[in-house]
């Protein structure tokens, strides 16, 4: 009998960094320390190159014309859809709709799935940790239908109160919409468990995966949700492209999102027959090159040893949490047991925007503000936090630069 010993390949962070030209930038005469990947990740050479090469060699419009380039472009666009499907663990690429962003994915579900179904008195259940993009569309459809918004709270650590969520679920609940990984807290939500509870009352589950996609392995089958959306620019891909996966039978029932070319079977002035999904939801010339760039980003991400990436990112978060928690006067917001990538913090006596400016003077890029999660900020009684977020290309040394810069902010305001 032979025993196979598998060791996870280590992550060569220097080699990863070498693929990101922008990381060689200097900011204020200091090496750039980019800790704002939760806002948007930087792009590796293969993504930049894939877009440029596509424009140089393969560009034409898609789904139109029989000429060679049009066929080549259509092939690349549809191959990108297959790539996204594989990334999400989706069984059929036809269940993947290209959108502008995760925001558009959520709006699409709110207006095309929920809007026709919601009746006065129905409920849409959200969580307190949602990004505005997973609040406002639901408020809009609730206003249009007379349905009610219900909010499941988070605890002091920033974990979803599953007992409360369970209590708030009822046969009136038609939709549960929640974030997979919180952009402001880093909390990882137990989506599979939420799906199980929601489905027990007949509610559909809509997941905002914008922050999860760069860090977690996504498997929409295992998560058991009904819709899952993410954006390209946070997974090292281009801006202006995102994807929405939906259950085939639900997508099939939904009316179009926008009207235009490419979403039709036949048009006359009397009536229009709509194309089946996904084309039904992709009116007009899509962001072809964005889709190609997104596929390149997913290829690149999946070429890295996944376990090692997760271990590295976990180590960065743990090191940063420990380093900042050790500084008197620093308060961490969001200390859930299961977290990814994000570290929100307050420095006593220094407003988050001043923290942001002072860190920038040391070359450190962090986000400062309410992170498009104002209800959550109110929950924690703060107007704004500084947020460091970590990606595969960050290092422990960069975390140390962050820590030193926070101490500098304290000295300046002492």
């Amino acid at each position: 009998m032979t025993t196979t010993v598998t060791t996870a390949p280590a992550l060569d962070v220097a080699a990863v960094r070498a693929q990101f030209p922008i990381l060689r930038t200097r900011v204020n005469n200091k090496p750039l320390v980019y800790l704002d990947s939760a806002a948007s990740a930087q792009k590796p050479e293969p993504v930049i190159e894939a877009e440029a090469r596509f424009y140089r060699e393969s560009y034409a419009n898609v789904h139109r014309g029989v000429h060679t380039l049009s066929q080549r472009a259509t092939g690349a666009y549809e191959a990108a859809r297959e790539r996204v499907a594989r990334f999400l663990g989706a069984a059929d690429p036809a269940d993947v709709v290209f959108t502008r962003s995760a925001t558009e994915g959520l709006n699409l579900v709110a207006w095309c799935f929920a809007r026709p179904r919601l009746r006065p008195g129905d409920e849409v259940l959200l969580t307190e940790m949602e990004h505005h993009s997973n609040i406002v569309p639901w408020q809009m459809v609730c206003e249009a239908t007379g349905a009610k918004l219900v909010v499941a709270p988070v605890d002091e650590r920033g974990e979803l109160r599953m007992d409360e969520l369970d209590r708030l679920l009822s046969p009136k609940t038609r939709v549960v919409a929640l974030v997979h990984v919180s952009n402001a807290l880093g909390t990882i939500n137990p989506i599979a468990e939420v799906s199980r509870l929601a489905h027990a009352v007949g509610a559909a589950v809509v997941v905002d995966g914008a922050q999860a996609a760069p860090h977690l392995r996504i498997d929409v089958q295992a998560l058991g949700c009904d819709f899952y959306t993410f954006s390209g620019h946070k997974v090292y891909g281009p801006t202006g492209i995102g994807a929405l996966w939906g259950r085939k039978e639900l997508l099939a029932e939904m009316p179009p999102w926008q009207g235009g070319g490419d979403m039709i079977l036949h048009v006359s002035f009397a009536r229009t027959d709509y194309a089946p999904p996904p084309a039904r939801f992709e009116a007009g010339t899509p962001h072809i090159v964005g889709a190609v760039g997104l596929a390149a980003a997913l290829d690149w991400l999946d070429s890295l040893p996944r376990e090692a990436v997760a271990a590295h990112e976990h180590d960065l978060l743990a090191h940063a949490t420990e380093s900042l928690a050790a500084i008197p006067g620093v308060r961490l917001i969001g200390t859930a047991r299961h977290k990814a990538s994000v570290l929100s913090f307050l420095v006593a006596g220094v407003h988050a925007h001043d923290v942001g400016t002072i860190l920038d003077s040391e070359g450190v890029a962090v986000r400062a503000g309410h992170h498009c999660a104002q209800p959550l900020m109110e929950r924690f009684g703060v107007a704004a936090t500084a947020r460091a977020s970590f990606a595969v290309y960050n290092t422990r040394e960069e975390v140390d630069v962050l820590t030193a810069a926070v101490r500098k902010a304290q000295r300046l305001f002492a």
Binding site: I358, G369, H370, A383, A384
Partner: protein, 155 residues
Amino acid sequence: MSELTDLYQEVILDHCKRPRNFGPLAGADHFAEGYNPLCGDKVKVYVALDGERLAGVGFEGSGCAISTASASLMTEALAGKSVPEAQRLFDEVHGMLTGDPSTAAEASESLGKLAALGGVREYPMRVKCATLAWHTLQAALAQRPGQAPAPVSTE
């Protein structure tokens, strides 16, 4: 890129930590609110007018060092000024923060302590913090009796 200490000058840090004329102003007859929703800075400006003269100016609110110090410095600089003088001061501060370099240099010459705000012009994302209190003051002065003015924003 200027030095951080040009932005966070001693005067700014002092007024941020110990804001002057902070709190509701007794006898105020003009009032307005400023709010920058993107960054969350909030300020309320109170003015007590004695004829054409600003007998007292107070403020309260929460925000970054720049917005707090700017409001605090403003209340000090305005006390006792006439309404046209206050408007002139507004124009000069505005010129220092957003005008072309020669306007800015000229304005900062005549502004005394307020010149400490001049470092902000090198930080375009922070100019709105420095101007919030001033725009709120303008709204307060324009307020008619019994009318609640709409909140001001500089974003």
